[in-house]
């Protein structure tokens, strides 16, 4: 699970949960994979990202310093775009859990795949 995906996930579907966002990442294995840098894609994604959730996710997996504190004002700065690309596309949570910030319900991440399925008690 890349951090760009984490940015989209919430536990709001659980009964009684108000925000369910951002989910806490409890990682037991994190890898970095090479992904082709596509500046135009990163530029397009930046406005869609919840920056504070991204900062939080990066912190959970120990990549906080790689990320600027604010979304970049200058979208043409390749250096900054590359750093963002690295954090959102290349950092990969392979194993661990996502945890609902309100109920502490855990969603397993296995083999890089978060399992967001709810059971009967959740709905």
């Amino acid at each position: 699970m890349k951090l760009i995906t984490h940015n989209m996930l919430s536990s709001k579907t659980i009964k009684g949960v108000v925000y369910g966002y951002p989910l806490i990442i409890r990682a037991s294995q994190v890898l970095t994979k090479d992904v082709d840098f596509n500046p135009e894609f990163i530029q397009r994604m930046i406005p869609k990202l919840d920056w504070s959730a991204l900062k939080f996710a990066a912190k959970c997996v120990g990549h906080e310093e790689d990320l600027p504190d604010e979304p970049p004002a200058n979208m043409a700065d390749e250096d900054v775009l590359k750093r963002i690309h690295h954090v959102v596309m290349e950092v990969d949570v392979v194993d661990g859990f996502l945890e609902c910030p309100e109920t502490k319900r855990q969603f397993p991440i296995t083999n890089g795949i978060p399992n967001m399925l709810l059971n009967e008690n959740d709905v």
């Binding site: 995906t5 709001k12 966002y21 296995t110």
Partner: protein, 213 residues
């Protein structure tokens, strides 16, 4: 990438190990998948450099094909962990790291009104479960989710015999459907409720766009 080349690659994709009938798990045949994706790419420019969702991605034929045609990022959603495990193997085999997988009930994506996936994607592709005798219209529920996840185009497969109904229902969802191709689909007999070992089903490959755009 040439159509023939794409089809050849997709033929190498590993399929379901123990397909679950209730989830309508069968792989979109490589020639159909390739044709569908190639049309979306060449005729409409909806794949290259786009963000793409694959709803009910199964072993990932459509997601992989989209990535091969240059999609910037692809997210595959499926309810079944076993299918996703095969899909994950396929991703590593083809070395396509821009594909992400999420295990979830696609229909659940819609219940959360605040879902951040809403309008997230440029393009959504799907070969939805058609729905069986007891739960008809699953494909239309999937279509509704697809329409919510993008302001762009949705590519989907539906039984030709239900075309009128599909187009009408899509229209009430704000989607205009255009049949891009009619295909013959060799459905395993388990899914066709038929005595022969397999049976040809006529399938429409439909491109939907939002009427307001």
């Amino acid at each position: 990438m040439k159509l023939r080349q794409l089809e050849a690659h997709l033929q190498e994709v590993q399929g379901f190990q123990e397909p679950k009938v209730a989830l309508e798990q069968y792989v979109t045949p490589a020639h159909i998948a390739a044709h569908l994706l190639h049309a979306a790419h060449v005729q409409y420019g909806d794949v290259e450099r786009k963000t793409v969702a694959d709803l009910g991605c199964g072993c990932g034929v459509l997601a992989l094909g989209a990535a091969m045609l240059g999609a910037a990022a692809v997210t595959g959603f499926d309810i079944d962990g076993a299918a996703l495990a095969v899909c994950q193997e396929n991703l590593s085999e083809f070395e396509l790291p821009c594909i992400e997988l999420v295990q979830t009930d696609v229909l659940q994506l819609l219940t959360d009104a605040g879902t951040r996936w809403r309008n997230h994607f440029d393009t959504v592709i799907l070969n939805p479960p058609f729905g069986t005798k007891n739960n008809q219209g699953t494909d239309l529920k999937f279509l509704e989710v697809a329409g919510a996840l993008t302001q762009g185009a949705v590519y989907s497969l539906h039984k030709s015999s239900t075309r009128k109904h599909v187009i009408r229902k899509a229209s009430t969802l704000g989607l205009a459907g255009e049949v891009v191709a009619e295909l013959r689909y060799d459905l395993p007999k388990t899914y066709a409720f038929h005595k022969k070992t397999s049976v040809d089903v006529q399938v429409d490959f439909i491109r939907f766009t939002h009427k307001n755009s």
